[in-house]
Structure formats: C-alpha cells, structure tokens
Amino acid sequence: MREPVENLIKQYQKHLFAAAFSICGNASDADDVVQDTFLKYHLSKKEFSSPEHIKAWLLRVTINKSKDINRSFWKQKSTSIEDYVETLTVSDEDDKALLNEVLKLPYKYRIVIHLYYYEEYSVSEIAGILKITESNVKTRLSRGRSLLKENIQEEWVYD
C-alpha cells in the first residue's frame, strides 16, 4: 500500500519534527530533515504493508538523516544549547532544564529515549526500527536515564 504524501505530511510532520529535533538539537536542521524525509518518500516507489510500517519507515529515515547532519562537523550553527533553549516556547524552568539535559545526551541515547517516551514504542518495536537488539535498546535507555538522573537530580521511572 501507499498513502499520498500530502496525507502523511498532515499526519506525521509533527512526529518527525520532534524526532529530528531530539537528535539535531535545533529547529532549522530538524525542518530540513523532515522535508528531506517526505521528499524521499515522495520519490520512492516502495510499497508498505500497513500504516504502521509507513510510520516506522518515516521515523527510520528521519533518524538516519538527523544523524547525517550531526556527523557534518562543519555545521555553522554554533549557538550553545542553553542559549538556543532560551529561544523556545518552553515556559517552565524545570522543563527547560530537562530539555537542555536531553539535548546534551549522546544522540544514541536520545534516539531511544525519544522513541520510548514520545512515540511510546515498546523496547521490541524500537529494536525493530533501529535494527539493534532489545538488549541494546535497554542498555541505551538505562544509560540515558542514568545520565539524566545524574544531571537533573531526578528519578526517571523505569516503566
């Protein structure tokens, strides 16, 4: 099956943007990633087995493209994370602090944290999307939570 890209944009732009932002750390790069992801779908002739398959594919492409941007060491966006977070519409100071610390995590942890907490995927679903083992997912979730707990002095529930 295939869905018209216009439908997917309405349905998933926000999701893909959030995923890209969690990895790139800024809205400008995240916007580029999301555009490129939908463009890739638009140009692809791939058939999908279900709407869930489409979403997983879109997220996977978004994650890969976000990682590509992060690997580009000659990024000219040199604003610090703290300064950038100040420009966002996050009003609560505790939330800003949390966002700061999430964006400072190594991206390997950020990806699984985002897929788990925002997209509400299970460990096994995350493993399928990222093509890694469930054990690896749990390890990355655990390490990410440990770092967050250390830096914001807050316990993150291991659901």
Binding site: S72, F73, N136
Partner: protein
C-alpha cells in the same frame, strides 16, 4: 506529572515553522541536486587538537578570546579556530568552517576532467578513475604543505586536500566528494581488517561499526565506522559509507593516521 507526559509536553511545545507541501518538496528536490556534497573524515576534537598544536599556528589575543590563526584555502573556503580561555574551569574550542563561496579543484568540460588551481588547468582525465587519482603539492607562505588529490571519473569526480605542518605532521583535511548510496560491507571490512559487526552497544570496544538501513525490512545498506570513547560519544570517524577507493588509496599513500595502528592496510 509522570515523566512520559512531561517529555511529550516539552516536545509538543516545540513547533516547526516550516510548511511542507508538494510544491515545497519539488523545490527541495531541485535545490538538493545543486547542493555541494561534502564530507570530512576527521573529528572536531582531533582536528582542533592537531591544528592548535601545530608549530605553524600563531595566536593573537582579541578582547577576552584567544583566536587561532584563520586559514583560507585556495578553494575560497575558510577556517577559523577560536579558543576561549575566559572561564577558569574549562577551555572551549570552536571551529568555524565557511565554504559558502568555495570552488572545486577540478572542472569538467567536453567529457574531460581538468585540475584547476590558480593559473593551472591540466587535463587529468586519463590519470583518474574510481581507483586512481592525480596529486598536486605545494607549500604555502606559512610553511604548511598541501597535498591536493583529485580522483574519480568524469561523471563522479571529487577532491581532497590534506595539510601538513613544517614538521610533516598531518593537521587537517578539506574535501568535496560524493559518497555512493550503498557500499558492500565486506569491502570496507577487508580494507580496515574488521572482522565482525558489533551491534551490542558495548562502548568498551575501541571500534564500533554502526549499520543502518533506510528501510526497516531491507538488509543493511549503509554503515559507518566510529571510534567511541568510554562515554559513548563519537571520538573519531574512521571511515564513512561510500568513501571512494581513490580517496582511500590516497590516504594510505600519504600515511594519514587513522588511530588504528594494528590494522593491516595492505590491499
């Protein structure tokens, strides 16, 4: 409020300002075709450490900052390294690279590949291929040795520039290449003598081959080779998927260090 709700609320509050439509996608497709494809095979931290440690680098204090010497490449791109020593607790190094108006060291005309540098325009078509390259060297006014490599085919050329200080130490690279979309993992494994893929997330290992695919169902088609530190942060990228063989051969011939002294590069 549970952690999950809080996380979702935070990311829901960050909005994109971009409106995506079919027209914008088609415009983006057109822009991407014209975009310069660049790649760098050396990490920020390693580059900064080598560049700033170079005997040829001089510093000038400007206000509260120490500014390393800016360097301008012959392509028109520029590099500036800034070291901020104002905080007693940390030293912050920022590298800015500007290639907005950069040119290439080659041109393609009438089916022929030319090396282009200052007043030089030399037909190098027959010297270049997927596996072969043309090499040009010069020493600049600050005693940096530059080795410019142009390789590839008329349909897919690329260039790389490697800098060495007056003691012969490799400092930095600058390049413009187009990576292929896919690569046979066995080829790269053979080149770098890496026998197996480790997807366990074990960061105590020195090297980690991360494999990923754009399709959750297909076999893996892309991968990169990273060196990680003990915190799981990328320390250095050893190789990137799609690196052309002419570039690999050039690096080997120049003895560019990869941080993997035990690997056998013989091929």
């Amino acid at each position: 409020m549970i952690n999950q709700e809080r996380y979702k609320n935070i990311f829901d509050s960050i909005e994109s300002n971009s409106e995506i439509t079919l027209d914008s996608l088609n415009q983006r497709k057109h822009e991407l075709k014209k975009k310069r494809l660049r790649n760098s095979l050396y990490s920020f931290a390693a580059c900064a450490a080598l560049f700033l440690g170079s005997n040829a680098v001089s510093y000038a204090k400007t206000g509260e900052f120490w500014v390393a010497k800016a360097f301008n490449f012959k392509t028109g791109s520029g590099l500036e390294v800034t070291v901020d020593n104002t905080s007693p607790d940390e030293t912050k190094t920022t590298i800015k690279y500007d290639d907005a108006n950069a040119r290439d060291y080659y041109s393609v005309e009438n089916g022929r590949l030319y090396f282009v540098f200052n007043d030089i325009k030399q037909d190098i078509t027959d010297e270049c291929s997927e596996d072969d390259y043309f090499k040009y060297e010069y020493t600049d006014e600050d005693s940096y040795r530059h080795v410019i490599i142009v390789g590839g085919t008329v349909d897919n050329p690329g260039w790389a520039e490697f800098m060495f200080d007056k003691d012969g130490n490799y400092i930095f690279n600058n390049m413009s290449i187009k990576c292929s979309d896919s690569e046979d993992s066995e080829e790269i494994s053979a080149t770098y003598n890496i026998d197996e893929t480790d997807n366990s997330g074990n960061y105590e290992e020195d090297f980690y081959i991360e494999e990923y695919s754009d399709d959750v169902d297909d076999d893996i088609t892309n991968y990169d080779v990273y060196e990680y530190n003990e915190n799981g942060d990328i320390k250095e990228i050893i190789a990137m998927s799609g690196e052309p063989n002419w570039l690999i051969q050039a690096k080997l011939s120049l003895g560019i260090p990869t941080g993997i002294p035990e690997l056998d590069f013989a091929e």
